[in-house]
């Protein structure tokens, strides 16, 4: 595989979080009784006409703005093909004049992925094949639920800029974070509100692009990565066996861990696109663009660099993970506010990414001043790490409070230096062999002694103070 390079582009469909559907007044909700949330328009009844949802346009513009796209005057086309879950037997979609053109998405690892376009279109209904294997060929009959029909989608098409399954996965994850951050979508892959198709080809580095296959039905970040790995390996095996990759659409079978042919290029539909005569062009003016731009909060990348800036200097690998996790969980605002209130940045980040993350919902509403005060006590040696975590749990449960008072109520007193020195001495005396080795330079035994002291003090000793006392005795 090493002599081969993957070339990957993703097409991501995301359902927009609008109140109503794209072209009618039906509510845009998930999980209703089948065919209860429909009307003449989204059922495509004769005589019905679409009216474009302004909120959907606005959310699409937010996505375009977040991806640095050019937001343009746009229009709709009809994409014609017969399918039972598509009520009009054509899909209204943007074609040669999409609303968002030419953006980029930078991945946390630094890779810059080009975004070709991000356009509006309507979702279809949902078909369930009933009987035998649940697959279309073995089904007795099929049921169609049109509740999803007409739900607004934005399709975001990337350039073929990714070179590994991990990169593709990172792109999908980062895009999801952006969609959620802009408020455009809830990004729930498990509910189908974000769906990924992958275009995969392989080549030897420097060669022209190989024949690509489009992989559909990728319902999780994990399946994005698995399917691409499988597909690339399949293509390499073909080529190395002297066979050609056939351009086609393939279906990812999650259970089998394989991609399978859906339809070949010869079977591809002729969609007969033409301008949708029932709709008028959308021409966002500068004011609207500016209003949308102003409505977007900080994006994930900016949130990450804000944390890195707080740390001051190159983050360690562990801190890098903490930055990703804190932003991913929406806890970065807490860290920033706590640091503003005087907490040490590294400690605030670590506690947020590790401890607060155990109860993210509470963490997002935690009073940053209380969090900051607690971290200051810990940093100042007034509480041990164990004690601080205990107090933090109380703060999270209550949404805030006075950490000093909580610590007092729990009987957490920082040990006086004298009593700590006594305990340390007792531990040293009880373990003469280890102490001798530690004094001779076996530094890692510091942990052994710290652990013993912690056990003896039921976790109330301050770790730094213990280390200082050990150093003092050793010298």
């Amino acid at each position: 595989m090493s002599e081969w390079e993957m070339v990957i582009g993703l097409e991501v469909h995301c359902e927009l979080k609008t109140d109503t559907k794209l072209f009618c007044g039906c509510r845009n909700v998930f999980g209703e009784e089948p065919n209860t949330n429909v009307c003449p328009v989204c059922l495509g009844l004769p005589g019905s006409l679409p009216v474009l949802n302004e909120q959907a346009v606005e959310l699409a513009m937010r996505i375009g703005t977040a991806l640095g796209c050019d937001i343009r005057p746009s229009s709709f086309h009809r994409k014609n093909y017969f399918y039972p879950d598509m009520p009009k037997d054509y899909q209204v979609s943007q074609y040669d004049e999409p609303i968002n053109v030419g953006g980029t998405l930078q991945l946390p690892g630094g890779t810059l992925v080009g975004v070709t376009r991000a356009h509006l279109e309507e979702d279809t209904g949902k078909t369930t094949h009933v009987g035998a294997g649940g697959r279309i060929h073995s089904a007795d009959h099929s049921l169609v639920d049109y509740n999803r029909s007409g739900v607004p989608l934005v399709e975001i098409v990337s350039e073929p800029d990714m070179r590994s399954a991990a990169e593709a996965r990172a792109y999908a994850a980062e895009l999801r974070a952006v969609l959620v951050a802009t408020g455009a979508s809830d990004g729930r892959m498990e509910e189908g509100s974000m769906r990924v198709d992958a275009n995969v080809s392989v080549r030897r580095p420097g060669e022209a692009f190989g024949k690509r296959c489009e992989i559909k039905n990728l319902n999780s970040l994990r399946s994005v990565a698995r399917a691409i790995e499988y597909e690339a390996a399949r293509q390499v095996a073909l080529i190395e066996a002297g066979q050609a990759v056939v351009q086609e659409t393939r279906h990812w079978d999650e259970d089998a861990g394989q991609t399978r042919t859906m339809r070949s290029k010869e079977e591809a539909y002729d969609y007969r696109y033409f301008p949708e005569p029932d709709l008028v062009p959308v021409v966002p003016d500068d004011q609207w663009r500016a209003r949308v731009a102003g409505s977007i909060g900080l994006l994930p990348a900016a949130r990450r660099s804000r944390l890195v800036d707080l740390l001051g200097g190159e983050p360690t690998a562990a801190q890098g993970e903490q930055v990703l996790s804190a932003v991913d969980q929406g806890l970065d605002d807490l860290v920033v506010a706590a640091v503003d209130a005087g907490a040490p940045a590294a400690l605030a980040l670590a506690r947020a990414a590790n401890e607060v993350a155990a109860d993210v919902a509470a963490g997002r509403t935690l009073d940053p001043a209380a969090f900051a005060a607690l971290l200051a006590m810990e940093a100042g040696g007034k509480l041990s790490a164990t004690q601080a975590k205990d107090v933090l749990a109380d703060l999270l449960a209550a949404g805030g409070g006075d950490p000093a008072a909580i610590a007092r109520d729990k009987g957490f007193e920082a040990m006086s230096d004298d009593s700590l020195a006594d305990v340390v001495r007792q531990v040293v005396d009880a373990n003469p062999d280890e102490w001798a080795r530690f004094r001779d330079g076996e530094v890692k035994l510091g942990g052994f002694f710290t652990g013993k002291v912690m056990k003896a003090t039921a976790g109330q000793a301050n770790g730094k103070a213990v280390a200082a006392e050990l150093d003092r005795l050793r010298s």
Partner: protein, 505 residues
Amino acid sequence: MSAQAIADDVRSGRRSARSVVESSLAAVAAGDGDVHAFLLVTADDALAAADRVDERVAAGEDPGPLAGVPVALKDNLCTKGVPTTCGSRILDGWRPPYDATVVDRLRAAGAVVVGKTNLDEFAMGSSTENSAFGPTRNPRDTSRVPGGSSGGSAAAVAAGFVPLALGSDTGGSIRQPAAFCGVVGMKPTYGTVSRYGLVAFASSLDQIGPFATSVADAALLLAAIAGHDPCDSTSLDRPAPPGLVDADAGLSGLRVGVCAELVDGVAPDVAKRVRQAADALAAAGATVVDLAVPELRYGLSAYYLLAPAEASSNLARYDGVRFGLRVPAADVTAMNTATRTAGFGAEVKRRIMLGTYALSAGYYDAYYGQAQRVRTLVIRAFDRAYQQVDVLLGATAPSTAFPLGDRVDDPMAMYLSDVCTIPSNLAGHPAISVPFGTGDDGLPVGVQILAPALAEPTLFKVAAAIEAAAPTAGVGLGPHASEEPAVEEGRSGAPGGVAGTEAAR
């Protein structure tokens, strides 16, 4: 009796809406066996609606400008709970769960819907012979077609069943049958009347419009149904045109162009009537000039690519999955095919094939794309013409009503029936057909007036002047001998008149 007079009587309590509707229903019962204008007569609903109008009058309320006026609806307008067939088997059993916007507005204006009228299947045709439920006959001569596709509505008004009817006009489907049946038929500016609830044929061309026995009644009906509708994105955000025709203002200062392309190729007896109508306008004070707009000749070709292209997409939804006919088959694709094969008639299939081909990969630019460019040329040509004149005058159809069966085996000959009406649809402009005497065969001739977008008031004014000068006030039932026009002066707009117009530019 005019719709205006009926509404006046009902509003003032001189006559009950029930009695008006009863006589309309009686006329249908007596005469529609020969004509077959109606696919469905909704007698019970109509009488109940009439009673509600009467109750409102009794309560001192005003039921609206069309109080108690019976109206027939072309059967491609959705009516809640009432079958809407589009003249097709494929909508077998379908009852729309909603009313078209125009139906809501008719009811709000006090009008009473008495039934659904026959049409060429999905409005595709020019003779109403393409209906799956049998043809409509022309009440003026039942051996002749009423024109189409809104032949049922035209015939219902011409036969005196109803004073008003609605049709839809995609390439002349209101104006051509109006001409054939000797009534007034008008296509408004695209976007004037909401298309919500009109079963689509070719969305960028379709427009609902009125049939009436007079220009004044047509204007009255248009005013009741027009105006912005938020349910139709192509609906213009402006008020409806006024319902009163400004007939007394005179035509002084009005410039009329007799359009060569709408006169030269038509039957001599029809062309003669157009010339006489032009003379009448000149006599009434208008400046009449001859004007060539050569691009209009390409309208027909462009139309028969664009309209089928849109139709091929609009008619895809009749797939047997959700409503109407379903012919069971082994799998869903086979079911689609079997249903559409059984449900659609030959002309609909022909146009779906044409349109599918015109949009296909590799052919799109040569057909659909080229037709769109021609459409743009037609619009520009009209724009240039309207710098010289205020309205254009021509024939509505190349001939009078032809015999039933005459063109059913010759689609091209049938398509040519629309050659004079199509350009206004391509441009989205208003146009009206006004009866003006008869042809050599004694059948009605329609004169067509074309105007630029939103010029309905001018259009109605000119139409009223032609109506006033027409050789007969309204052609009666049965074939008539040709009568001489009331105005027979020389044409003031002969070539000499053109110079003045040219100089003015």
